[in-house]
Symmetry: C2
Subunit: 218 residues, 2 copies
């Protein structure tokens, strides 16, 4: 499948590389058509990897990932273009972290709204699925490196078919069915985005990103 | 030990009953000196249980629990009286849930502040430890009923001795050392209080409170 990644940072590269490993063709999109980080990723990832603008990557992909920083996401999707987003499943991995007052960051949107919902309102014809945003990128695409994948990934979205498509990709990454928790509609992304302040404190304490939250139940 | 519980709801009753089981003398405090719910709790819990006003319970306890609703906590502590709180470890189990717009509630304070910090600023001589607020009351005091206690309880506070005292009580409740995570100072309560929106969605989905988050690490 052709998959477009919006964002040229380490999260996009990690997801892009894994998608290529799984046999997909992946285009990484940035603000400019060429970009040092995207070029380096293409060079190390091989012939199934390519780069372009946000619009190029969004047009290329049948499924899209938003891996931009939260503060840049709305602008990235605008540059990607509503026409290129229309009807497509968009896995939104971003978090609205605001580092303007230093570390730890606060959230620029939370509680009665979420970044996922903001993006969905701005691009109503995209089929946004909030997922994977509660963990370190290494675990997103290789969950079995920790406790055989016995920890949780959350899925929020308004479109059932898009959530099924997102869930298929999660399974391909190695997520066991029992670890994938469909929380409901996109407003449930408020909850998962609000995990970040705890995550950041745990990251500071544990000094590694190789941890995750698990929902333990009877 | 004499322990005071501020709040006459089910969380206070659950914690109070467990503390009596563990051999403590417990006074439950409410707005009035007598209260139907507190009276029912005393009647079923026995001679080591008593009731009184917030001030009575705060004066009685060497250690205190804030089990009031978040919206009522500042007022409850004011009624308890700064003199009765001074120097005492106060385990703050409350959450700033705002149900004014229905279910699920939002938080009335979060992100750049927390209820725990608000209470600490209002009562600087109390030694507030935010803990246990991320789960159902039944699990707070009987963690081994789920996965032998292999799930997480967080501790946040500015006073190391108070955190040690709180941790001793957690151990007495049955929390394994490996499940007790000291996140740092009281500002880390922002993170644990912000877990509530996720918790509430999980509660809605799982239809039971008998679940908890675990930090899974290598």
């Amino acid at each position: 499948m052709n998959i477009g990644i919006l964002g040229t940072g380490s999260v996009g590269a990690t997801i892009g590389t894994r998608l290529v490993e799984l046999g997909h063709l992946v285009m990484m999109g940035g603000r400019a058509a060429t970009n040092e980080k995207a070029a380096a990723w293409v060079a190390t990832t091989g012939a199934d990897a390519s780069q372009g603008t946000f619009a190029d990557a969004a047009a290329f992909g049948e499924i899209l990932f938003n891996c931009t920083k939260g503060e840049a996401s709305a602008d990235a999707l605008r540059l990607a273009g509503a026409d290129n987003l229309r009807g497509k499943t968009l896995l939104d991995v971003s978090n609205a972290l605001d580092f303007s007052n230093g570390f730890p960051p606060s959230l620029s949107v939370c509680n009665t709204d979420s970044l996922g919902e903001q993006l969905q309102r701005a691009f109503p014809e995209a089929r946004i699925v909030k997922t994977l945003n509660t963990m370190w990128a290494g675990l997103m695409v290789n969950p079995t490196m920790l406790a055989d994948g016995a920890h949780s990934v959350f899925v929020s979205g308004n479109d059932a078919a898009a959530k099924r498509q997102a869930t298929e990709l999660l399974r391909a990454f190695g997520w066991p069915d029992a670890s994938i928790i469909d929380l409901g509609d996109l407003s449930t992304a408020r909850g998962t985005e609000m995990v970040l302040p705890l995550w950041l404190r745990l990251y500071g304490k544990l000094q590694t990103g190789a941890f995750n939250l698990a929902v333990v139940r009877q």
